[in-house]
Point group: C2
Chain length 584, copies 2
């Protein structure tokens, strides 16, 4: 029986909705998808852990429990959770502020960051604050991801060259690379550059080649996705065969095999306070990335994503990551698309991947000991360069200067100052520019199109105007930020026209009038009245009118409200002498 409480339980645990009807066919599809995703996820887990400044096993741990948590809590059938490049970069930026790389404190801080970020996501769900993510505009997110991609790629070059460097802004990274060129390890360089070349070749040419060789799309795709794993295998063989680790090639080293540990975050309040801004940004960026992917994929199959439940699912995944020695995770774009294309039907595909990664953690870690860091860096570089979206920059530039400004500021600050400064500035700037735009709305003096009841901008059309009557239209909701603008505009127009008797404000585009604007309308009415001019409104929308009627506005308002501008002009022309009053 479906009672309200079962419904509530099902809303909180979507797995209860689909699991009872799970079929063998779905299980087969999910398993196939899981194999492909696992093959992709193993190298990524190791690489993103390195990017976050953490030991490689942390990446594996972050790809086990979080996937199980999402399978139980998530509303997307195909989203693949785990460590992703941008969030790993943000983790490194935040955690390196409070602890030194390689120390136990660094690991604890990363775990705490994941835990905090999980709590924030769940709190956002409970407080219905998911809408906050909307304030990350597309150009800001896109600029942020592009700049992060560049920054990550540049930062990984040090591993390809085999030099030590610590810079975390583009100018410093480039400077350090230039200074460190002498210290390049030749073996590392060869391994790193061949890995990059190989991975680019696989990405671009392998699949078409296999298809031409007679393979069908699906297995060709699967083999191409295994490129990074092949690079890893080959490079390990190379290192072992030629003893390259003794020749200065840095390797991953011992990775403890075994189940993910049970870990606890730090509950030190001062650490929480230090990590809070970063945790908030990671939550927001992670949520935006994750839900965008989820929506894209769900829409293709007409499935529903419930944003508020996604916050819970992502929050749960991050807490699961923290409790098992991982770091912040989110839904990854590339791997979710792979999961979808490979035919995943339910979140169990993710759970199966988790078991795949668990298998790797239990049995494959000894193999990764001799994996050169340069190869991990190469997989990162090849992956993140696809994040760089020059077209989006061009589009923003062509379409909207203010969107472009927010995007450019984000990119410049991410590269030059840091990820947090970049995204915060981008968000602040886009909000400010939006407020600025709505605070100086488009206002047109309008006249009647001859022979019609339509009124159009006098500057754009040949229209008739009535002496003594000023018709104007404002194309924006009226609220505090443009209330004074409206007053100023009207007073300015009236100041120059002593013969004026009526001002009619057309409001077809006014979707709301707040208390400030209401007072401004009253002030305009009163002041114009005192100067012998009557102030009227026309074409006020139903809901706006309802609200005005609820207030005492019409007790004071000295003008009229006309259903249409045409009606207003007709009335004022006919009643001109009566309507003209001397100042009070």
């Amino acid at each position: 029986m479906v009672t309200p409480s079962t419904n509530r339980l099902r809303a909180l645990f979507p797995i209860l909705g689909w699991a009872p009807a799970y079929t063998r066919a779905e299980a087969t599809s999910d398993l196939i998808a899981a194999v492909i995703v696992t093959i992709m996820l193993v190298p990524q887990s190791l690489a993103y852990a390195m990017l976050a400044g953490l030991p490689p096993q942390a990446g594996l741990y972050a790809s086990i429990l979080p996937l199980l948590a999402y399978a139980v809590l998530g509303t997307s059938r195909t989203l693949a959770i785990g460590p992703v490049a941008v969030i790993s970069l943000m983790t490194a930026a935040a955690v390196s502020q409070v602890a030194a790389v390689g120390t136990p404190e660094y690991l604890t801080a990363a775990i705490t960051l994941a835990f905090l970020s999980g709590l924030i996501l769940i709190a956002m769900s409970v407080l219905r604050l998911g809408f906050l993510a909307n304030f990350l505009s597309h150009p800001v997110i896109s600029g942020f991801i592009t700049a992060s991609g560049l920054l990550i790629a540049a930062s990984q070059l040090r591993h390809v060259l085999g030099i030590t460097a610590e810079g975390d802004t583009l100018p410093r990274i480039l400077l350090e690379l230039a200074q460190g060129l002498n210290g390049t390890n030749a073996y590392t360089l060869v391994i790193g550059t061949s890995a990059i070349a190989f991975l680019f070749w696989v990405r671009k040419n392998l699949k078409p080649l296999l298809v031409r060789a007679g393979l069908s799309q699906r297995p060709a795709d699967l083999i191409a996705k295994a490129g990074p794993l092949a690079a890893i295998g080959l490079s390990i063989l190379g290192v072992v065969a030629f003893g390259l680790d003794g020749k200065g090639v840095r390797i991953v080293g011992d990775i403890p095999a075994g189940l993910p540990p049970f870990a606890l975050p730090s509950f030190n309040p001062s650490l929480w306070l230090q990590l809070l801004p970063a945790a908030l940004l990671i939550s927001l960026v992670g949520f935006v990335e994750s839900i965008s992917v989820a929506q894209t994929l769900a829409a293709k199959r007409r499935q529903r994503i419930i944003a508020n439940q996604e916050l819970v699912a992502l929050g749960g995944s991050n807490i699961a990551s923290a409790l098992s020695g991982g770091f912040p995770v989110t839904g990854g774009f590339a791997r979710s698309v792979v999961n979808f294309d490979a035919g995943a039907e339910t979140p169990l595909a993710g759970a199966y991947s988790a078991f795949g990664i668990l298998g790797a953690t239990l049995f494959l870690t000894p193999l990764f000991k001799f994996l050169p860091q340069a190869v991990l860096a190469a997989t990162i570089i090849v992956a993140v360069l696809s994040l760089v979206d020059v077209t989006a920059i061009k589009r923003a530039f062509t379409y909207s200067k203010s969107d472009f400004a927010a995007m450019a500021a984000t990119i410049a600050l991410v590269l030059g100052v840091g990820v947090e400064a970049g995204i915060v500035t981008g968000v602040a700037l886009s909000l400010l520019l939006f407020l600025w735009r709505t605070s100086t709305p488009h206002v047109a003096v309008v006249g009647q199109v001859p022979g019609t009841e339509h009124f159009r901008n006098v500057d754009r059309h040949k229209v008739l105007t009535e002496p003594g009557i000023l018709s104007m239209r404002i194309d924006e909701s009226l609220y505090f930020a443009n209330a004074r603008f409206l007053e100023d505009t009207i007073y300015d127009m009236v100041a120059g026209q002593p013969e004026l008797r009526h001002v009619v404000l057309m409001c077809p585009a006014v979707n709301a009038i707040d208390a400030s604007a209401l007072e401004s309308l009253e002030a305009i009415s009163d002041r114009l009245h005192a100067a012998g001019v009557q102030f009227h409104l026309s074409e006020v929308k139903g809901p706006v009118m309802d609200r005005l009627k609820r207030s005492d506005f019409f007790d004071h308002f000295k003008g009229k409200v006309f259903l249409s501008q045409f009606e207003a002009i007709q009335f004022l022309k006919e009643n001109a002498p009566a309507a003209v009053e001397t100042p009070g």
Copy 2:
């Protein structure tokens, strides 16, 4: 000859515009107004200096040079500049954070605050940032002024009781008053309460009484305005006659006679940094108060106020105040109205008042020595209680819950935490609520009103809908904060209707589409297309359409754009079979 450079000079120094045509009649009017304003300003200057925690002469100084500066720079003919209650309270709150009352550092900090605030105002003018003041919504400003009035009145009760207290939040002030009641000085209490009673009586009853006694309006008004001066005079006589200063009645004490000193602000960078937030808030609040008054009065005579030049004028006045030992000033409401009503014609009325205050500074200060602080407190209490506007609170409550929320938060925080916390929270909350409202706009499913070409909300009207076609209208500009909302809403609607073939979005209230919303529209179009549904737009505004055409939107957009919703439905009905495609 009027050259461009003379024009620029006149814009910067409006005095050059009106002074050459100054007439004897205007001079007479200005002089009369100046006498009345001076009578009002002398007690206010002393009182607001006390409120700001400064020696009384600082109030006089702040009422001399700033008035001259405004006469040269201001665009309002009748604005009366000087110390005002709310800004004095903000000064006390800010300066007491960095120095102890009564120390030379306190005075220097107040001077520095005025200087900084002047620089900020001028910078706002140069950078055209005056629009920032628009973000102080009416309810926030009104709540701020009401709460400040209550806080000031409560804080002055200590002087009426003759007890020492230092609290600067309402709970602390009330607690200290309760604890200090035992220490009440009886003489002080008698003087203070009779002054309050007298001032309230004068304010309410004196003018009607005089008019009934046969005086005409103007002189009756003038005499009533002199009430505070009379209270001061009578109380000084009382103190001297009965030697009350020896009986625990605190008096103003020695005030140095003479010209305002030449003072310099501190140029200590850390002090500047500490005072910066307060200076910014004082600038914004002062500017909003001042320009509202200026606009109100100017509109009555159809004169123009140039907002950007007002920033310069107010900035110049504050710098003038700083350089002559004063503290932050702005245009006062009550005294400007008095100036206007008394017939002031040009800013020279203000300059004449400055000379009046200068006279008082040079010759009357010995008289003020025996002035009881309780009487100054009484004039403040009576003045600020008129700032408390309960009607505005009720109106906000009735009209708009979000405006009321911002107002209530402002009031609560000003009273409970402090003036700065209050106004910052109020502004942040009103911006957030505005963004929240526009991020969840009104969306209606619409249908055709039978027999017309109009489309209305299906929930509010009896309308016709077409099977397989979803018509919806969104009542807001589309931008980053509601882009996802739009996507979610449309996907949700589509998810439940497998028979759906077309979605038409009516856009008559969409005043702008930013880059984020553009991408959302593309995503909606693509995803619906993939699900076998065509997405169309109708009634897109001219400027919005222009911008869409400038982008590559129509290269990808799979639907159509119809001039009207009626046309859309007609077309889709006729072409239904052709328009239905299978997922791509």
